[in-house]
Structures are given as structure tokens and as C-alpha cells.
Symmetry: C2
Subunit: 144 residues, 2 copies
Amino acid sequence: MLFQSEIEILNSYLKKKGLKQGKQRLDVVTVFLETEKHITPEELHDIVKKKHPNIGIATVYRTLKLLSDCGLAREVVFDGRIARYEHNYGHDHHDHLVCVKCGVIKEVIDPEIENLQIMLAKKHGFKITNHRMEIYGTCKKCGS
Amino acid sequence: MLFQSEIEILNSYLKKKGLKQGKQRLDVVTVFLETEKHITPEELHDIVKKKHPNIGIATVYRTLKLLSDCGLAREVVFDGRIARYEHNYGHDHHDHLVCVKCGVIKEVIDPEIENLQIMLAKKHGFKITNHRMEIYGTCKKCGS
DNA sequence: TTATCTGCAAAGCCTTTGCACTTAG
DNA sequence: CTAAGTGCAAAGGCTTTGCAGATAA
């Protein structure tokens, strides 16, 4: 079965919290894990509706919340105010390169920048817990 | 008069667009420029209300929009979904160090990181238009 | 059986908009 | 005088919540 380990993580989280495994919830989780990253709750809802026409968007929101709580999803808010989620189990920390024309999002990582961020924080007496970095511009295809 | 140059920028923008200078709007602008950075529309509204008990929050939103359009304010959305604004005329580009305990926000800049961001984008075929970087952690006062 | 899960609709937040009145130019 | 500004309340998006019926353990 696909996503064996992710499902196990979810299940052990559910057990720990005394929660149950609903059928719809599992479908939302599966679609979420199958799908390209950075999806909005509404987009996810639309996809799941193809299999479960009756599924409510509330279930999608509740499931995404659950996935965030157990560490399988991460909320990323790009410019604007709509939340997008990416599944991050098995993915290392990364930052985002966002094309402002076509909307493509590339995940990138630069160890040197990461290191400098730590130094910068330290210089100001901060102890880092996490950070976010997004670079906006035009991708190669969209030119300047 | 304080904020002479900012007011001039605003006025020339208004003239260019054929807009007028309302009294309330000017008060919102003045308070905004006087105030510590990273204020929410609601906080700004509360302060302005002390002088103009009748001012509507709609005017505050409209004024902030106007300030953003003419480049005097910048919207920054930290974790969560409430917009905060900072006035940025005469301020160089900077990033943010946010204390997750006491909420203090420090503006920082690291030329080396800036440079690496450009290189990183270039490596992926992106031409940068802008970027945002926020580092979350605990400040010196709040310890670890 | 019993607490959780779900869909639905209602409620909540923050933000924007329509309207009638006021005011700047 | 005329178009823009303002306050108010209503409307709009996105997200959360309350509730009653369905379902997992």
C-alpha cells in the first residue's frame, strides 16, 4: 500500500489522542499525499469530491488541521491570504522560489544561507526555532 | 511639520490620480507614520479613534491601501492571517526576526544572505523581483 | 454502546463595498 | 458645482463551530 509510513504516523497519532479513523478522512489524506504540493483546502476538496460527491469542506479543513498537528502537513501562506498546504513527511526543510507570472513554485535549499541565518539570529541574541524564506521573481520560462 | 516628505509623496500621488485629501485620511496617515511599525488595521483604528471617535475602520483600510499603492506602506503577513503594515519610506529593505514568546520584531539585514539569495535564484533560472525572510525564535530576554 | 466523525448550515473573522451624506477643490 | 471622502451597515471570502445523525472501536 502507498503511503504506508505516513498512514502509520497518522494512525499512531490518532491512537495516542484516542481518535478514530473515519473513511472520508482517510480519503482526504490519501489524495493530499498523492497530490502536487502547495494545495489549497478548496482545491483539495474539489479533488476529493470526485470520489465522494458528498464530502463537506469542513472535513477537509479538519483533516488538514489534523495532519498539521501530527507533522505530516505544513501550512504555507504565500502572498495573499489563502492558506496552502504541503506534505512534508520525508521532505527536508526547504524554502520557496515563486514565479509571479506563471505561479510555479520550486523548492530550494541553500546550506550556506541556512547557516548565515543562524549566525544572524545569534548576532541579535535570538535562538531560532524556525524560519521561512520566499523568493519572488520570474522563472526562466516566463523570462523577465 | 513632521513627515513633510512622506506627506508630499502622498499628495503628489493624490494629485496624479485626481484624488482629494480628506481630513480623516490625513489623521490616519499621521498616526500611522508616528507609530511603531507592524501595526494591524484594528490597532491603528483604535489609536485614531482617540482623536476621532467617529472614524470608521473602513477609512483606515482604505487609507492603508492608498499608502501601499503609493509606496509609503508595506503589508507584512506574519504567521497567522492578520495583515500588519509597516511604513517603509526611507527604510531600506530588511528582513524580520520575530520572537515567538514576547512578540518583539527586529528588523535585520545581512548583505551576504541577500547576495546568496540572488545567486540561488539565478542558479534556478529565476530573476528576483522581491523576497521575504522571517526568522522565528526566542529573543535574548525570553531565553530559550 | 459511546465517543468520535461527518455534512450541513450557521457563525466568526477580517476585509471590502454600496449608499447617502459631507466635503474638498 | 462635481467628484471624491467618510461612516455605517451589509456583503464577501475563507475558516471554524454547533448540531443531529452516522460510524468506528
